[in-house]
Symmetry: C2
Subunit: 474 residues, 2 copies
């Protein structure tokens, strides 16, 4: 068993600073831990100096007092309590010996740059090492694991839905942003693990990435990176990780201004951006340049089949948005326009409204606003059955006479028919826009067909997955 | 009175093809016209061959039969009825002489590239010219005017809220996408006019842009452009427009693939992208490269005060997202980091939590997750009062102990206090993310402080408005 398992599947958790005061981080952490827990949080123990009952459960004045097993401590009391917390942990460890890991959510350590903060962090690490306890943080928001049912963070409104994406972040807030966005989508998007590494006083980003490499629940890894002193070790870790599963990284501190801010944030030397760019490419990591690109790409890696090649077809019911999509795809590079066979062309001509524009240019068909839901779906099917096509982006602006729900239902039928015949190519539907298409989007996503909110997201994600698998094939 | 006024403030409208069948465009158009109309759509007349009552109002078999005044005809019957519709219009015009304008939503004209379609369009235009009727389209979705209360489109769910932005589009679907997105925001975003020009058989994009230049209700113009044969005339029109008000354009057909698709979409010669880029710059038009950038920029021009200079300060409660914002701003170019005075620095040090990072680097302060709502606001106020600052982006990931609503309420107080003292600088709050911050976002927007969904939107918009006003000052 890996030494890090206690961060994800601990037998028993103590929440230090689990206050009755709703305005305290420790209160929200306890709430999240209970809500996430499969068994109602029976093994989640509030600890606070008053020993107050919190959220209907008995509290303890110290960790030592807790009768049940405690493998994980979540530390949400301020940094200036370091000595007393460590004394309490040591007392427990000497008597029971069950502590394995501590998530230090508290700030006030080396990230402050103060002598006192640095000293505290050194004491924390050396004490925990002696006790055989691993430290995540300090100055982190900790861990969410949707499959084990654990949430040590104070992030609001997380939907604990399963998924294959795990995300490691050098910024707790970047993680909160992503997780809150996924949870706010309709329908909400799941993920597997979220890990905020904070100051990396003991457990480094490298150890966590190695853990995810070997984690069978994680299919795809997303990273927000600011910098790491041992660049060569990080590169080796990323190379070995991306050999196993797709990795998408967003790098903070690209500009001089950003890099300086990163230095005062996590003390990271952001390094020359071009160097990072080259290294990430070399080790097989996809680089995202925006949070939405990162988010769409990791979800696409998890949820779409691998395209067999670079040949993309754009099927659009809407002229302008189709052109916009073509611009996005072609200026990104790395994909080719698909060339469909003469028989597929004839088929499209038979299926589609008389004024549809087919293969003008190659790899592009505008079925016009006159197209019915059935025509959307039949055209998509004909194109996906063509051997010259590796993936399909479908752009549509559903109108009252062709409701999004009808398009969704017809498309789901096509996807199922294709799968029966062993055809499973990436199909990326973009339904524009907003509330009028929410019903159709929900149907597709719940039916197992990932949708994209914008052509930007779809094109960004398709460029990434196409390139990744094409490189994989050499 | 401009010859185009009847497209926006007609006395009486006939809706040709206003069917009882909810699956027909004409049904939704009638619904939109009635919903938009301030007076319950009393002067909106359904016309259909059966003379059926539709949506509870009396229908007419022909336009000629309508007893009231009819200045505008909305044409939602298929193109192959062209001759009979024109005959009906001519009969009306000879008898009553009240028709002024027709919005031809129908397709099946020159955009099909067929001889028949081209012939029909020629007949349409020459007939209408003889009658003194202006033609918008064909193959367009027409016009929305939130201030007069008119919506000739079949776009779903438009919130008819006032705003200063008008948008002209060579693609109806791009307009539908934008309008549906604005209407789906929380709270919904208003606009002034939306105009889809379609085939431009008579009224060109140039005439519409000239109209908006002189329109006192339009403060800012957004454009989706594919191409225009008379490039020099378009450039002159844009120059004279952007001398009056800010203009942001998104160009479709940037890549060869996109340009070819544009050619079959609107028959436009998209032209070399670099040429467009140069011309747009020369004539003072801001160029957006994505729909979200276009959308955020036009709204920012409408709703934010003009920055007096290029000096931006980033105030962040969240390390990673603050660094991400710095990267976005600084890689965009055209802004400078603000340098605050020593006294403002001291003030920030007094206001903020002990571990806040102030002006490391210049123009950047990380107030840390320990900052209260009051500290957010006091810091923002101190920075906005500093003479060295022209604009402020505020990035925060509200947590349970600092709810988004508290931050919003404190910020609103500050904005009011500053305005009282005559200080009105752009303040761009980014509250991350999703449902947990919806309440705060709504409070700010309703309180007159525009919020941004992502740092990308805020940075994109701030770069555009800063550059526009800095150029204006020479």
């Amino acid at each position: 068993m890996s030494g890090l398992n206690a961060f994800f599947r601990p037998s028993g958790c103590a929440v230090l600073g689990a206050s009755r005061d709703e305005q305290k981080a420790g209160h929200q952490i306890l709430k999240n831990m209970i809500r996430a827990s499969r068994c109602g949080g029976d093994a989640v123990y509030p600890v606070n100096p008053a020993g107050d009952e919190v959220l209907g459960r008995k509290s303890y004045r110290t960790i030592s007092e807790i009768p049940g097993q405690v493998e994980l401590v979540i530390w949400a009391v301020p940094g200036n309590f370091t000595e007393s917390v460590l004394a309490d942990m040591r007392a427990r460890q000497e008597e029971r010996g069950d502590l394995r890991a501590v998530v230090v959510v508290a700030a006030g350590f080396s990230e402050t740059g103060s002598r006192e903060g640095v000293r505290r962090e050194e004491m924390l690490v050396s004490c925990c090492r002696e006790m055989g306890v691993r430290v995540l943080g300090p100055n982190c928001v900790g861990v969410i694991d949707t499959s084990s049912g654990l949430d040590t963070t104070f992030i609001l409104g997380t939907e604990l839905l399963d998924g294959g994406v795990s995300f490691v972040s050098q910024s707790g807030a970047m993680g909160a942003w992503l997780v809150e966005s996924w949870s706010s989508e309709i329908p909400p998007v799941g993920f597997n693990k979220f890990i905020s590494v904070g100051n990396m006083s003991d457990v480094s980003i490298i150890e966590m990435l190695d853990y995810l490499r070997d984690d069978p629940e994680t299919s795809t890894v997303g990273i927000y990176l600011e910098g790491y002193e041992q660049g060569r070790r990080l590169a080796e870790c990323l190379r070995s990780l991306s050999a196993e599963k797709p990795v998408v990284a967003l790098k903070g501190g690209k500009t001089e201004q950003g890099a300086r801010a990163a230095r005062s944030h996590t003390g990271s030397l952001a390094g020359r951006d071009r160097v990072y760019d080259g290294v990430l490419k070399q080790v097989g990591v996809c680089r995202a340049h925006s949070v939405s690109e990162l988010s769409a790409s990791v979800q696409a890696f998890d949820r779409l089949p691998a395209p067999a090649g670079r040949r993309v077809f754009i099927l659009t019911q809407a002229g302008g948005p189709g052109i916009y999509t073509a611009d996005l795809l072609m200026s990104g590079g790395g994909v080719e326009r698909a060339r469909i066979s003469d028989s597929t062309r004839r088929q499209l001509r038979d299926i589609l409204p008389p004024f549809a524009s087919i293969c003008e240019p190659e790899g592009h068909a505008d079925i016009t606003a006159a197209a019915t839901a059935r025509q959307h779906a039949e055209a998509a099917e004909a194109i996906l059955r063509d051997d010259g096509v590796d993936s399909l982006i479908l752009v549509t602006v559903p109108v009252t006479f062709v409701p999004a729900e009808d398009i969704a239902s017809e498309l789901l039928d096509v996807v199922h028919a294709l799968r029966k015949d062993g055809i499973d190519k990436p199909l990326l539907p973009v339904l524009l826009a907003g509330r009028p298409v929410a019903g159709g989007v929900r149907m597709l996503d719940e039916g197992g067909v990932m949708t994209f909110e914008t052509p930007d997201d779809a094109a960004g994600a398709l460029l990434k997955i196409t390139d990744y698998y094409a490189r994989g094939r050499g």
